[in-house]
Symmetry: none
Subunit: 211 residues, 4 copies
């Protein structure tokens, strides 16, 4: 009986104990990777990630058999968090228009300096295998619908317009992040004004000419 217990007990313990460490390591890896990917984009050396997370190469590759796996994991996570934080900001807003403004404010403040995310948004536009972008789309879709229903958003503006605006401004954030960190807000202000319904004329179709 004791045997059984002695055997059974460590069994349970043995299964949970290492996992704590493994989880800690996995988290450390993801955290370090997120950091590094945000700073330097997806072209980083895997060793840099291993170094920063304090694990060996083998550990990293045990958790993420290919570099791409790690990158995708981090991007998915950061995308989700990004989308969620922006959504929260939108929800908290008083009116539909403030929701849009707060959404961009939060989205651009929070994550647009994440190099790998913006890199990936560019790649993903045509091939959205990254489910994350869908979350973002859903949020924007709702924002769009609400604002349009309230007659605040300029007719003809689509979800894709707002999404592309996000991507576009995201790039502006990256460009100015280091030397003029508040500058992008001016562009945002301008763009939002251009989106308002009181602009008068609805936005033409894809063949829109600027004249």
């Amino acid at each position: 009986m004791l045997v059984t217990m002695a055997v059974a007990e460590p069994d349970n313990a043995a299964r949970r104990a290492p996992r704590v460490d493994a989880i800690r390591n996995r988290e450390a890896i993801v955290r370090a990777a997120a950091e590094v990917l945000a700073e330097q984009g997806a072209a980083v050396d895997v060793r840099e990630i291993a170094r920063r997370s304090g694990v060996g190469m083998g550990t990293l590759y045990r958790h993420f058999p290919k570099k791409e796996d790690l990158v995708q994991t981090v991007l998915r996570q950061d995308f989700s968090r990004w989308a969620e934080s922006a959504r929260q900001a939108a929800i908290a807003a008083e009116d539909p228009w403030a929701a849009i403004a707060d959404f961009y404010e939060q989205a651009l403040t929070g994550y647009a300096r994440h190099r790998a995310i913006v890199e990936n948004l560019a790649l993903t536009w045509s091939d959205p295998d990254l489910e994350g972008i869908q979350q973002l789309r859903l949020v924007i879709e709702e924002l769009c619908a609400r604002a349009q229903a309230a007659g605040l958003l300029r007719p003809g503006v689509t979800t894709d317009d707002l999404l592309l605006l996000l991507v576009s401004l995201g790039h502006a954030v990256q460009v100015t992040d280091e030397c003029r960190p508040r500058m992008w807000r001016r562009l945002l202000h301008i763009s939002l004004d251009g989106l308002r319904a009181d602009r008068g004329e609805p936005l033409p179709g894809d063949d829109v000419s600027v004249h």
Copy 2:
């Protein structure tokens, strides 16, 4: 023996002759590099450039001791051309506002799909060792001044705003170039509307809040 002869020749002949070739080669290199950098960005293999220009690696490196040198040369040139073509479009416009619109139209149509340029605009913002961007600034500065003098441009909008808008939309162009090549025009339309003086309120300072 031939070498001896070539060396024995008068300086004139000996020096001018190869230079013709050298110049031709240099041009071929720059041309090919511009092509490749536009298509694939600055991360391309140097061999690809050598291959397309039809010269050997040695020749390429004789003219440009570092890959970076070649990249800078090409970017400077393409930046200049870009600025110039956009300026021409602006000059040809009837009124100051059309000048701005045509400037963006031309700039975004012509060069924004140049991967290396947009890549570099991002890097260059903070460290403008690339004189090219200055040309662009000058053009924009003038556009800005004219439109403001005519009371068409929203007060408070700066040259940097317009420059950053260019960079930002440039990225949008790249993102959508392959699958929705006309989509960026919608963003441009929106942004230009946001820039119009009839927007009512002037654009606040850097501490602008979106509310």
Copy 3:
């Protein structure tokens, strides 16, 4: 706490209990290793063995501190079984010649598809640290002696000849196992015919020329 109890137990219980498990594990490891080594040869990943045996890497390495130890253990065991099964086939035969034929038949049918064994036979020939091969030798020696005494085996044929023939045909079995699984029997037939005493001339010595 449980640990304390387990330690406090009389030596008998404390020592015997884990050993049951240990033995079971060791057997599982050896069994799985035999399978894998047979299928894939000695170049397999140790993890594959651990996986199939259902034990952790630590357990595996507790029993076999080096991969080589496990490989040798398995090979020794499989060699012995191989030799024994072939010996049984030989014993069951009616006459000395049938004993030889059945021996090869059994040996080649049963184990020659064991990749690691055939791999190892090659290495072992010069450095027979593998005692297993000795068992095989003993069987063959006896077969040889009986057949020669009965005047059935061609004079001059040695135990080493028969052993090398086994190795040689073993390779043929592996080569053809997947696409022409019966083909090796033709070679065996030919070789056995070449070994018969009625071949006329005795087999010359090592300096034998084929003419």
Copy 4:
């Protein structure tokens, strides 16, 4: 004119000159690779090959973009040489039977100690993408036909039988090469005797039983 000459001349020279070196290197690589592959099989470290051939990794990979390419090149070459040398030995023989004997003698003496070749023969049996083996087959086919026409080869023996015998004995050669380098000749002698027509009975089909 001088210019033209000066430019044209080096052009020609420049194209041939480096090629001499390149060819020398390529040959050195292939030679070293053949050596190493023969000694250690296809699992060798690419660096070992680079080291032995006296070139850098880059040079090696310039000539052979993948390790597999180099391996295939060497194997094809060595296979061809092997087949050819064996064929020559066969051609030089007085009669059809001697041709067979000399063929095996030469084939086994010359190349069977080439680890990678024998490794590959095993893999290639089912998937003969290695054209080399076809050369060998052709030679054997002819030997077979001639000997059978002369009534020297046992009826029922096929080209595949002789080919498999070669592979089988090739393995025997490898096994015994270091400690008993002449021993394989005894097996060859035995096998050839088993192949002779005067063995009386023809060789049965694939379902041959040894009884």
